[in-house]
Amino acid sequence: MRYSAFKILKEALTGNRGWKPVWRHPEPNPEYDIIIVGGGGHGLATAYYLAKRFGLTNVAVLEKGWLGSGNIGRNTTIIRSNYLLEGNQPFYELSLKLWEGLEQDFNYNAMVSQRGIMNLIHSDAQRDAFVRRGNAMRLSGADAVILDRDGIREKCPFLDFDNARFPIQGAIWQPRGGTVRHDAVAWGYARGADERGVDIIQNCEVTGFQIENGVCHGVETSKGPIRAKKIAVCVAGSSSRVMEKAGMRLPIESHVLQAFVSEGLKPVIPGVITFGAGHFYVSQSNKGGLVFGGDIDGYNSYAQRGNLPVVEDVCEGGMAIMPMIGRARLLRMWGGIMDMSMDGSPFIDKTGIDGLYFNGGWCYGGFKATPASGFCYAHLLATGAPHPVAQHYRLDRFLRGAAIDEKGSGAQPNLH
């Protein structure tokens, strides 16, 4: 089913009786070419690009819960490509380019809204660092603009420019950044994969791997064993729990990240704004709620809820740059489980077990990476070689001394 203005009009006139479910609910076959473990954003994107770009459709996506029930529906929906390091920036720029063409590509309204992202600068040293970052972004083909105070005032006159502790001196602005309707991303990829023949099997938990002599031949699931030539794990948040079943230990800890939504307000915040002297970021949803968040709680957790010290810290950050939000009431807050890697960067790689592939370690930045993650994972699965922009995301990089520490904070998960 393709969506068009004509179709909507026709359905409106005929009582909306012609809409059909947009993906099937198949039972698993005994064997596939490729099994993707995890039906979240990255897993569904992988299936979609395998089918569309590489013509591989004998593929199953196994999902323990329901489609898109994990972090694809729990994030703060921001897209951007404002990284510094060579191992990261080209990857995220590919992702942003894919976001820009996504709705036309899978014919689904994901509400990609390039309203811009503004990272505030509060000191001379920070300006130097952000100018350097901006140059790295432009070298990768991305866009970056350094704004002075007047430039910021044009877009965001409500900021506390002369805050006693954190005066705003400037900002780095990426006009192509923005937000996306996150659930629609999962739905669009699922529909696109399903209509090309990929089986999306929900309520099917992987309970083990069939590994003989160092080769993975399939998985054990709650719906029985399923064999495949290639098994692609894509379960960020639960990576350690799943890969443990294959006998692997990962350079990953699971941490909880909280997010918040205020009551609906009239349009006030033009794009995404981040505080440069602490960790706070905010955007405004299409329904009017302020969507904001900050640091991870900082201790290992699989609970999808956090604690109050971080709530306080996030709110202090918000008040430091935009005191006007102090009267806004909080509507909802929740937590999601992050794969925090040792250097803050992800993995898209083969494992030491033939036929078993791993994608994870997305820390708190997985949403914006969804298209490129799926695309590069599909590339690795289909061709056997890493995609050039994802070639640094290797599992052995710590052993080689090739960590990708974007934040420069050292090899400890809760520092990123």
């Binding site: 639960s238 350690s240 729990r241 443990e244 230990r249 990962l250 350079p251 990953i252 800890e253 699971s254 900082g298 201790y299 290992n300 957790s301 699989y302 609970a303 604690n307 010290p309 040792m342 710590f398 052993l399 090899a411 400890q412 998960p413 809760n414």
Partner: protein, 94 residues
């Protein structure tokens, strides 16, 4: 979260700095272990869902290291020990 400090009683977890898995107490001898052994010690984690023993540093308190047994699914803390006692029990002299 409230951590029952063995010496100071109940303290807010915000006073502490978190390091991670208490297995890090058992650092291999850097002069004898190979690259892979040191890599595994430094970078790989069990990361269990359930009870975990982990290191917390009371930075804004008495600056002791604690070994806290905590459930990563419920955040319930069931045991708190001084890391010094844990290390000594495992045969470390200091």
């Amino acid at each position: 979260m409230i951590i029952e400090h063995p010496l100071l009683g109940p303290r807010d977890a915000a006073e502490f700095v978190y390091l991670g898995d208490a297995a890090m107490i058992d650092r291999p001898d850097g002069m004898t272990v190979d690259d892979t052994g040191m890599h595994d010690y430094m970078y790989l984690r069990d990361n269990p869902a359930g009870d975990i023993r982990e290191l917390w540093y009371h930075e804004q308190g008495d600056r002791s290291w604690l070994v806290v047994t905590r459930n990563t699914i419920t955040h319930e803390i069931t045991k708190v020990e001084l890391a010094r006692d844990v290390a000594r029990r495992s045969g470390r002299s200091r």
